[in-house]
Symmetry: C2
Subunit: 311 residues, 2 copies
């Protein structure tokens, strides 16, 4: 099953995809189910009821009829891993523990849904605005002190994530702070794919494209810390809750095509130069695709200028 | 005005304190007002309506009649500053930028309210569980790109914060991760004091006591980054929202009384030893007091043992 979170006329809803673009709207098909995916996951039989309601029913709506939200718009916590793919560790020459995952938190305001625009910071704030294609894991049943061999029982599904980062802010101080949490700098979608449909995630390939050119390509078995190890570690200190998100880190850059200027380190504005990396700019389109989990696609627009705006 | 967040019979409420222990319950005095303080702050006239409803009314309830929540139980984001007091920077011998605040995020599950127990991690996980007395700033009116000279217009009030930290986890990797986010490891209270009642916060003294002994004592003008500077910096990348919390960092430890064993570095279990610091243990009581903002008091209990607990 593949599920989306959306808004239609200001009201939140959950949908079950029937093909690549159309879905059954659960507010209509299952009016007794809660209206957000986090609340559906919090009910022990929530996903089963969603499946039963959508079974055999034809689609009500198309993705273009609604505003897509991040797969989980309001997670209690989004834990993100830094430096979890071996090639990314090598290319940045940064150090990380091989014993404990490298964890930080992203907040919901920094994330948009599939087909929603990403906001590129004004150039005077940070010209090094970078994509990071990643695998997102969504927690279904919560728990504390989850052993590795039980971790799979707590996974509701998987999705693609663009963990967009503003590199100069990221290096302002030792904790990443705003560098990983600029307003609308990342994305999460297109949908949640449940484990029965996703299959073995370690056999999958992740591909990131900027304006159609492949910039990252890796198999998901290149992780330093597996999903199971990470769930075991986090749940040692944190009660994992339904709808919590764990983002597994980004792989390295592909070597650039010979002679390509835009990906040359001399054209980069961040504190760490990486061959093959290209900053995102207004007008770009960025995609993160994981085999069988769909393609997360976002345009990039200029964020509003850096002018005082009281709410 | 001083406001609390609480639960009574499973229902959330906001209260206006009338003296040190009693309050007007707004669900009764102002049934049209929203039931959470974040929602009250999101209404432009929310605080004015709360004030009008409580004005001249006698108290309905006492703090001991309810379960107190963190001042804002569900902030959109809690930004916390590391290494923002000069003596704390010196005693830890850690580096920090003097140009940009050192920011990380805490999530709500790591925080409890006034008079609620803090959870000390099982000793096999981390024996270095430390208090950090801090000033919390709560955002009222939201905004982006807030200049320093407008920052005060966006502050709803102040409170005390115990930014409890598990030091071994904090040093597991370069980002703080779980070290600043152990379940129920910190606290936030006792209430929100509005700026008109709080006065000049830089003239105030912060005191942290463990089992009645003063361990931290500082004036709040010892900060590297002021509240106004921090609001200006954060709002450059993040749209500050009503109810967002900014926690301003902890001061240093007081020198220990001569001959005191428990605060000797040789009796400390963390990666960084600091003269005068004492870890928290089950059975302790910890208090953070800021002049005019009240005293945040919590007992410390042993967290449940590290045994698998699916929800």
């Amino acid at each position: 099953m593949r599920l989306i979170s959306y808004h239609l006329k200001g009201e939140p809803g959950v949908g079950v995809m029937t093909d690549a673009t159309r879905f059954v709207a659960l507010p209509k098909a299952a009016p007794d189910l809660p209206r957000t995916l986090k609340q559906v996951l919090a009910q022990r039989d929530g996903l089963d009821r969603a499946r039963a309601a959508a079974n055999g029913r034809s689609a009500d709506l198309s993705l273009s009829d609604v505003n897509l939200d991040p797969v989980i718009p309001d997670p209690y916590v989004t834990w993100a891993l830094a430096l979890n793919f071996k090639r990314h560790i090598e290319e940045t020459r940064l150090t990380t523990s091989t014993q404990y995952p490298h964890l930080f938190i992203r907040h919901p305001g920094s994330i948009v849904g599939h087909l929603q625009p990403l906001a590129c910071p004004p150039p005077e704030l940070d010209r090094a605005y970078d994509y990071e294609g990643e695998l997102a894991v969504v927690i279904g049943r919560g728990g504390r002190h989850i052993p590795m061999d039980k971790a799979k029982d707590h996974i509701a599904g998987y999705a693609c994530y663009n963990e967009g980062s503003t590199r100069n802010y990221q290096s302002h101080n030792r904790q990443f702070g705003l560098g990983k949490n600029f307003e609308r700098s990342g994305s999460f979608g297109p949908w949640l794919t449940t484990p029965d449909e996703a299959g073995d995630i370690y056999q999958k390939e992740l591909v990131t494209r900027l304006n159609g050119k492949v910039r990252q390509r890796t198999r998901l078995d290149d992780m330093l810390f597996s999903v199971e190890k990470t769930i075991a570690y986090i749940s040692g200190g944190h009660l994992l809750r339904p709808g919590d998100v764990i983002v597994m880190g980004t792989p390295g850059q592909l070597p650039p095509p010979p002679g390509e200027k835009e990906s040359d380190p001399s054209n980069q504005f961040g504190p760490i130069k990486v061959k093959g990396a290209v900053h995102m700019r207004p007008g770009d389109r960025v995609e993160v695709e994981i085999g069988g989990l769909g393609t997360l696609s976002n345009s990039v627009v200029a964020d509003e200028p850096a002018v005082y705006r009281p709410l």
